[in-house]
């Protein structure tokens, strides 16, 4: 009985901060991811599949730790994390290491970090804290300050240049402002202003970024260059048909026609081998996470928790939509991995931290009731 009690106690400690529906869904996604990564790495070596399992395991531990942190603690960490992230971003701009023509990495002595990844979490964390603090006396000026806090890090990341991550950081912060209730009129005005700004911003874009837009409009203009990615990934997905060609048997995937097939373009491999049915299943799993995330946000007890959970959930959607849109040829090519599917430790870690936060919000609400 004692043993049983101990076991129950341990199980309770392990699971009480976890959210059942989210847990089940991410485990299914992790299983699909490892399966597809194995196929995308040629189907004859376990290196990448095992690496991906390791990534999930590490991320799971971190997620558990985050889930066990109360939203109050998270709120206290908001400013330090943001300041560290911002300092690192400025450090990158000044001392950063350049790889593949992009200055994204910073050597901090014991490790080489990519500070823009930290910003993906730090940004919504800070803005949620800010709106929480200003809750009682929210003015238009607060939106302006929030906008400034949002734009500075995003611009720094865009300058690296890393358009994909800049978009994700910006949208994460934007979702907080949006959910905090920025008026529709202002949103509309901002949208109009952004549209009007395109002709002015356009000349400042890098050639490769412009090329990606041209390529989206007509991939056949450069079939061996920038258009190659989109052409080959749409061929892969289209040729998969309703049920797919079957695991390990997609010719586009196995014969190397799909570029970046285990990372950014893994959806093409998945679409070719598992078809429309697989694609719709993936959309459904994402919808479960998003739906559950929004539910947690709506039931959250504080403004901070609400805004943070909501923004993280919408960010998750943004990841998925930008990636699938790119791979299926309806959005330009930007380097955004498919959430919980693409091979890569950093992306999975930051996504699991986000889900850990959702779980924290979901399981801590009675403790912070006001």
């Amino acid at each position: 009985m004692n043993l049983r009690a101990t076991t129950n106690r341990i199980f309770d400690i392990l699971t009480r901060r976890l959210d059942g529906p989210l847990m089940v869904t991410i485990m299914v996604l992790a299983a699909i991811s490892v399966t597809v990564v194995f196929s995308a790495s040629g189907g004859d070596t376990f290196d990448r599949a095992l690496g991906q399992i390791r990534n999930f395991c590490v991320a799971l531990v971190v997620m558990w730790i985050v889930a066990n942190m109360s939203p109050l603690l998270l709120m206290r960490l908001a400013i330090p994390i943001f300041l560290v992230g911002l300092a690192l971003l400025i450090g990158v701009a000044v001392f950063g290491e350049t790889r593949n023509n992009a200055r994204r990495w910073l050597n901090v002595g014991f490790a080489i970090v990519q500070p823009s990844e930290i910003m993906k979490i730090a940004m919504p964390l800070l803005l949620a804290w800010y709106f929480h603090k200003r809750e009682e006396d929210l003015r238009l000026a607060d939106y302006a300050i929030a906008g400034l806090l949002l734009i500075v890090p995003s611009a720094l990341v865009m300058r690296q240049p890393d358009l994909g991550t800049a978009i994700l950081i910006f949208s994460a912060g934007f979702f907080v402002i949006f959910l905090a209730g920025l008026s529709w009129k202002l949103l509309l005005a901002a949208a109009v202003a952004a549209g009007a700004a395109i002709p002015f911003v356009w000349p400042f874009l890098h050639d490769y970024q412009k090329q990606r837009v041209y390529t989206l409009l007509d991939p056949t203009t450069d079939p061996l260059g920038a258009g190659y990615h989109i052409i080959q990934s749409t061929i892969a997905i289209g040729s998969g048909g309703l049920l797919g060609k079957g695991w390990l048997t997609g010719s586009q995937a196995q014969l190397d026609f799909i570029p970046e097939r285990s990372t950014d373009f893994i959806f093409a491999v998945y679409g070719e081998e598992f078809g429309l049915v697989g694609g719709l299943l993936l959309l459904a799993l994402y919808l479960v996470i998003i739906g559950r995330g929004l539910m947690i946000a709506m039931n959250a007890s504080t403004t901070f928790s609400r805004l943070l959970a909501g923004a993280i959930t919408l960010s998750f959607f943004t990841y998925a939509f930008v990636n699938m849109g790119m791979v299926t040829g309806i959005l330009p090519v930007v380097g955004v991995p498919l959430p919980l599917m693409s091979y890569g430790g950093t992306a999975i870690l930051s996504l699991f931290i986000g889900i850990g936060i959702l779980m924290s919000v979901s399981t801590h609400k009675q403790l912070v009731a006001t």
């Binding site: 929210l138 000026a141 959910l179 040729s239 309703l242 946000a297 709506m298 909501g310």
Partner: protein, 641 residues
């Protein structure tokens, strides 16, 4: 209002819920768009993309047939194939080619010569083609590259068949060579509707047998359906259609005889064509200087190309077919035959040769080669001593159009029909020809004068013929007036079926009996047979051990002013006379007929006849020439010519 302070907590939660629901709705729409896109790609356009994916995956690779081999009449190999590895690169797939080549050099040696040749290939070819950068890699180099291949995208090692000409520059003009297909070749291939058969082939016969018999040698290209990866590398074979190897050719050439003939020429420029009179089979076809056809197989490098192309000795010119020279006195037996046939002369008719020929009412006079003349000369003597005055007179009495017509029947001024390309017709003058030639001149200038006939009467003036034409006409006389089309290919072996097709059976190679009286031919043959015994080549043919027939010729390049004596030593080498000798042997039953021409060699009896003797000695007696002894002092006037 914008910026209204929200104090009400319930209201704030409601705003949040409203925004979250709105977002949720937007997400559903966005995911529906993705789902709709998936339905469009995977259901509506599935077949289209499936076809594209299959086209990506499956490639029809040509399987190049083995090129036919070439042997001489005694089965000595003249052209063969060998397999070797080449390192190839597709320039369009390499960004900084020079830097990459530098790096590559640490693994596979790339010499400056290879680079120069590669540059040249690049200029000539399309950018997406795979071009060889290094040929004949060693096993070690292949292994080293294979390990480092990932560092060099766009580079690949391929096994290729190479052509090898083991005889080097011997018979190079007859055998020809293969070289990379250029734009002109492509157009010909396209016009002949052979494009699909040349997929994967990057070499084509350019000259000689390789060029003329390209259709026989090439074979038909097979194909292999393979699955390829994105890099274009074949992963596995799906289906194969085997290629059919090209046909093997057995030539009429006797390469040993050819070698002797080329040796005898030494460093000199000139040509020799030896024919078997009864069949028209060409035993030797020499054009000196030659070139090494092996240089062309890998794509010739610019240095060697310039050397060959700009040399004053014109090594790439096939003098046997494309060199037209005044025939000099070698034309005399043919003109004599014409005079017999037309009845202008009888064998017995004599003329008196005072050493000079004058024409009534013309101030100009024509010197005989021998000062003081040959005295009384009949037709036989005119050939034996090569009397100019006899032929001046004959020419002055014969209409040029009649002469022209007769010579044409012997093949002068027309293509002999040899079975390789590029043969020239030479120049056989007539009234019409001169009028056309000087079309821009005054009517006076375009008129044919009797003086023109007289120059032509000793093989000077407007005449110019190829060594091939002289050899062919000589062979026709030797064969008693039965013309045989000269040919280089004896038989063609179909490798697939093993059947052997003799070219003698082709209609085009059937004998043509010329309308000549046998007694006239017999008379000319007898006169020619006297030349090596008592005539102009008697010294050279002393103690030959067989009876031959021949005629010397010395063709002027440099116009000697009247009254001036031609002295070889005083004339620049390139302006010296061309030396000729035509011959056949044995005189009674000829097995070989030939024409020798030594460019700027001087006297035919001195420079050309010894070559003819050496070749016939070897062919008839198996006697190898003593090369050192052939180098006789060349301007010693041994006899009139």
């Amino acid at each position: 209002m914008i910026g209204t302070t929200i104090r009400n907590r319930e209201l704030e939660i409601n705003v949040f819920r409203g925004r979250a629901l709105f977002a949720g709705f937007a997400i559903l729409i966005a995911f529906s768009v993705v789902a709709a896109r998936l339905v469009y790609l995977q259901v509506i356009k599935r077949d289209h993309y499936y076809t594209l994916a299959e086209a990506n995956r499956i490639s029809l690779l040509p399987v190049v047939p083995n090129r036919g081999l070439i042997w001489d009449r005694n089965n000595e190999v003249l052209a063969a194939n060998y397999s070797a590895y080449t390192l190839e690169v597709t320039p369009s797939r390499v960004k900084n080619l020079d830097a990459v080549l530098e790096e590559l050099n640490t693994i596979v040696e790339i010499q400056p010569r290879d680079k120069r040749r590669f540059k040249r290939l690049m200029e000539e070819s399309k950018n997406f083609e795979s071009l060889p950068i290094r040929n004949r890699l060693t096993e070690e180099e292949v292994a080293r590259f294979a390990v480092n291949r990932y560092r060099f995208p766009g580079f690949d090692i391929r096994p290729r068949l190479f052509r090898n000409y083991p005889q080097g520059d011997v018979a190079s003009h007859a055998i020809g060579y293969i070289g990379r297909i250029n734009d002109a070749d492509l157009k010909r291939i396209d016009d002949a509707d052979l494009t699909s058969n040349y997929r994967g082939t990057d070499h084509i016969g350019k000259l000689g047998i390789e060029g003329g018999y390209e259709n026989e040698l090439h074979g038909s290209t097979g194909s292999e359906q393979v699955e390829i990866d994105a890099g274009g590398r074949a992963m596995r074979s799906l289906a194969t259609t085997a290629p059919v190897a090209g046909n093997n050719l057995t030539l009429t050439l006797d390469i040993k005889l050819q070698k002797i003939a080329e040796q005898v020429f030494g460093e000199g420029r000139g040509s020799l064509v030896a024919i078997e009179p009864a069949t028209g089979e060409i035993l030797a076809l020499v054009s000196k200087p030659g070139f090494d056809p092996n240089l062309f197989v890998d794509g010739i490098d610019p240095q060697n190309w310039d050397l060959l192309n700009t040399s004053v000795d014109k090594p790439l010119l096939n003098r046997a077919l494309r060199g037209a020279y005044p025939p000099g006195s070698t034309i005399k037996p043919f003109l004599a035959l014409g005079a017999l046939e037309s009845g202008k002369r009888t064998p017995q008719q004599t003329i008196s040769d005072p050493g000079v020929f004058r024409l009534a009412g013309v101030a100009h006079y024509w010197n005989d080669d021998k000062a003081g003349g040959h005295g009384l000369v009949d037709m036989r003597k005119s050939i034996v001593v090569s009397c100019d005055t006899y032929y001046y007179q004959l020419a002055s009495e014969t209409d040029i159009d009649e002469t022209s017509k007769f010579l044409r029947s012997l093949g002068f001024g027309t293509k002999t029909g040899i079975d390789i390309d590029g043969e020239l017709e030479g120049t056989l003058p007539s009234r019409q020809w001169k009028s056309n030639r000087l079309a821009k001149g005054t009517p006076e200038a375009r008129k044919w004068y009797v003086g023109d006939s007289i120059s032509a009467g000793i093989g000077q003036g407007y005449n110019s013929f190829t060594p091939m034409q002289l050899a062919h006409a000589t062979a026709t006389i030797a064969n008693d007036g039965v013309a045989m089309r000269p040919r280089l290919v004896r038989h063609i072996t179909d490798v697939a079926t093993g059947t052997i097709k003799s070219t003698a059976d082709l209609d085009i190679n059937k004998p043509t009996r010329l309308a000549l009286k046998p007694e006239n031919i017999a008379f000319i043959k007898a006169a020619m047979a006297a030349v090596p015994i008592e005539g102009t080549s008697a010294r050279i043919f002393a103690n030959s051990g067989y009876v031959s027939a021949g005629k010397t010729g010395t063709a002027q390049v440099y116009g000697v002013k009247r009254g001036e004596k031609y002295v070889a030593g005083r004339v620049a080498e390139r302006l010296r006379d061309h030396a000729w000798y035509i011959a056949y042997a044995p005189a009674d039953k000829p097995t070989i007929a030939l024409a020798v021409m030594v460019e700027n060699g001087g006297k035919g009896a001195v420079a050309a006849a010894p070559i003819a003797r050496a070749v016939m000695d070897y062919y008839l007696l198996g006697k190898k020439p003593d090369i050192a002894k052939l180098k006789t002092p060349d301007n010693e006037p041994q006899s009139d010519d």
